[in-house]
């Protein structure tokens, strides 16, 4: 049990409203540490809903999520915030950088939230990550003054700054061209190998999915297929 990054038990999600719609129907899933997983499925199949629940950004209607053996349903909002800050890195389809800050400042943001101020070692690590994602020459630009691919790479470096155990990515290359997409995935794989980070990546791209070690396909809110590529 201790070696699972994530454990989901009977996750259901129903959206309220006049006509309640059930989006997830009892998802059970175990994700080992250091693994690279892809979630695929048709639009509306519930991928983002599931990922947001995994990341504690959303709460399931029923079921339990454990992150690194810690049951999240027993934690209050500020404990969850701390958990997210220290163990999960998010990469979304849109980069969600803070436009008021520079590339370097954006990358350091999760560290600032965690520590309050920037330590010398964190700054060193941020610069290392900037080198890793190839942003040296724009690191002092405002987040709005760089290209889309550079913004996405900034978001990746930001997701890594607190050395999280888990990275959750929702179509991280959705807004990028195919050459850049390949570069970003090569980068994610490299991080997975170098830093032993667990990845769960939602993608529409069959080529991309096939590079993952495990593919989980959702269909109408259920796990339709779950297999290892090798």
């Amino acid at each position: 049990m201790a070696d699972y990054a994530l454990e989901l038990k009977g996750i259901e999600k129903t959206y309220g409203g006049a006509v309640p719609t059930k989006v997830l129907h009892g998802i059970d899933l175990v994700i080992p540490r250091h693994s690279f997983n892809a979630i695929i499925g048709q639009s509306g199949s519930g991928k983002s809903t599931l990922l947001n629940i995994i990341g504690t950004l959303d709460v399931p209607t029923s079921g339990e999520v454990s992150i690194l053996s810690r049951p999240t349903h027993e934690m209050d909002k500020s404990a969850l915030a701390k958990l997210r800050n220290e163990t999960i890195g998010f990469i979304f389809q849109h980069h969600y950088l803070l436009p008021e800050f520079t590339v370097l400042e954006n990358i350091l943001m999760p560290h600032r939230i965690k520590a309050g101020k920037v330590s010398g070692s964190a700054l060193k690590y941020a610069n290392e990550l900037i080198g890793f994602v190839g942003l040296e020459h724009v690191k002092n630009n405002l987040a709005t003054d760089i290209s889309g691919g550079q913004q996405q790479r900034t978001a990746i470096a930001r997701a890594l700054i607190n050395r999280p155990e888990i990275i959750l990515a929702d179509e991280p290359t959705g807004s990028l061209d195919s050459a850049t997409t390949d570069k970003v995935y090569a980068l994610l794989k490299k991080i997975n190998e170098q830093y032993k980070t667990t990845f769960i990546v939602i993608t529409h791209d069959q080529n991309v999915a096939e590079k993952a070690e495990r593919i989980i396909e959702l269909k109408d809110g259920r796990i339709h297929l779950d297999f290892y590529t090798k």
Binding site: L57, N85, L98, P99
Partner: protein, 382 residues
């Protein structure tokens, strides 16, 4: 501190909006400072012109028109009675009439000038001539005009108390006490001359000035206890209308200030409320990255605080400039300010503190809204 920097950066990123609201707060604070200083100056002027040159407490005989003994040891006791007492000035006064067709009424007052000058400042208010050295008189400018006399002339007066033979007295100086009634009726001389004129060696009253003019009631009560057998009066009971007027002025000034503050609060609250909407995307991101709801709300409290502090600084500079401009440019014919405006540092500090506090209060609603903001809404809606 990280949250403070976030707040500052958010404010700085919308410069125009931030500048406008700071100026808004600044204008509010400067209006407060200006109105407050103006009213305070007005009131001081009014109090000064009412009681600055008159007795605050008088000790006289219990029987109407009766005289007191000219007793230096009693005077000493009164002087030593309380630290608030600035001066005790003996006076002998009585009615007289000018020996002319109208028999114009005058009041002859004899003073000890060492003490009387503390109250009436005759020395500085002489417009012509000199202080009476021995048996000369100084009279008000209005009386001098009415009688057509100048320094060096003499006047015939009848003192009904001692007979109907007119007595000639010399005018050695003319004063202007800034009060028409006094300028028309007072004929002032030394105490000994007055005593000779009235043919007795008593006193009509001891006139007292105190340091804090509003301490007079309390002091009178204590003195009545200590010195029984005298009639002791003080200025406030004779000036209730004036005091009520001052009170009314203070209240209306306070009302103006409260309403100015309310509009400042509403201004900040609405700007910050818009700012929460504008920054909801950023807040969502920060929350996804693990900022707690409490810290998310602190960002807006800090924004309120920064707006308040800078607004107050702008307001103080603007307010002092206004006050300065008013006292420099709003002057009467002789170049004196129309109203002597008072700059009271304590009042300015309070109004700055109120502005900062109001800004904090105004940021509570936006802060709570930011605490409640749901990450998932932001992430889903891009």
């Amino acid at each position: 501190m990280f949250l403070l920097r976030l707040a500052a950066r958010f404010l700085f990123s919308s410069k125009l909006q931030t500048a406008l609201i700071m100026i808004g707060i600044g204008v509010g604070v400067s209006v407060q400072i200006f109105i407050g200083s103006l009213i305070e100056g007005l009131q001081e002027d009014l109090i000064d012109s009412t009681v600055g040159s008159r007795a605050h407490i008088t000790i006289s005989s219990e029987e109407r028109g009766g005289l007191l003994e000219d007793d230096p040891s009693f005077k000493g006791d009164v002087e030593a009675f309380d630290d608030e007492i600035k001066v005790v000035s003996p006076v002998l006064e009585g009615p007289g009439n000018i020996d002319n067709d109208e028999s114009d009424p005058v009041i002859v007052r004899g003073f000890d000038f060492d003490e009387a000058n503390v109250i009436y400042d005759f020395e500085d208010r002489l417009v012509e001539g000199a202080m009476p050295d021995n048996d000369g008189f100084i009279i008000g400018n209005a009386l001098a005009d009415m009688l057509g006399v100048a320094v060096g002339d003499s006047i015939s007066v009848v003192i009904p108390q001692v007979g109907f033979t007119p007595i000639d007295v010399d005018v050695v100086g003319i004063f202007d006490l800034g009060n028409r009634t006094l300028n028309e009726s007072w004929m002032v001389t030394s105490l000994s001359t007055a005593q000779a004129l009235f043919e007795n060696d008593g006193l009509s009253a001891y006139e007292i000035q105190v340091i804090d003019v509003f301490a007079s009631v309390e002091l009178r009560d204590a003195m009545r206890e200590q010195f029984p057998g005298y009639r002791i009066d003080e200025w406030q009971s004779e000036n209730e209308d004036l005091l009520a007027g001052l009170e009314g002025q203070s209240i209306s000034s306070l009302m103006i200030q409260i309403f100015v503050m309310i509009s400042v609060v509403l201004g900040i609250a609405s700007v910050l409320a818009i700012s929460v909407l504008q920054k909801s995307r950023q807040l969502g991101i920060l929350k996804a990255m693990g900022i707690t709801d409490r810290k998310a709300s602190l960002i807006f409290l800090f924004q309120g605080m920064i707006l308040g502090i800078f607004g107050a600084v702008i307001g103080i500079s603007l307010g002092i400039t206004l006050v300065y401009a008013f006292s420099t440019f709003a002057v009467d014919a002789s170049g004196d300010p129309v109203v002597r405006v008072l700059i009271n540092p304590a009042f300015i500090a309070i109004s700055a503190a109120v502005a900062i506090l109001a800004s904090l209060v105004a940021s509570i609603i936006p802060a709570r809204r930011s605490a409640r903001l749901n990450v998932i809404e932001v992430i889903r809606n891009g």
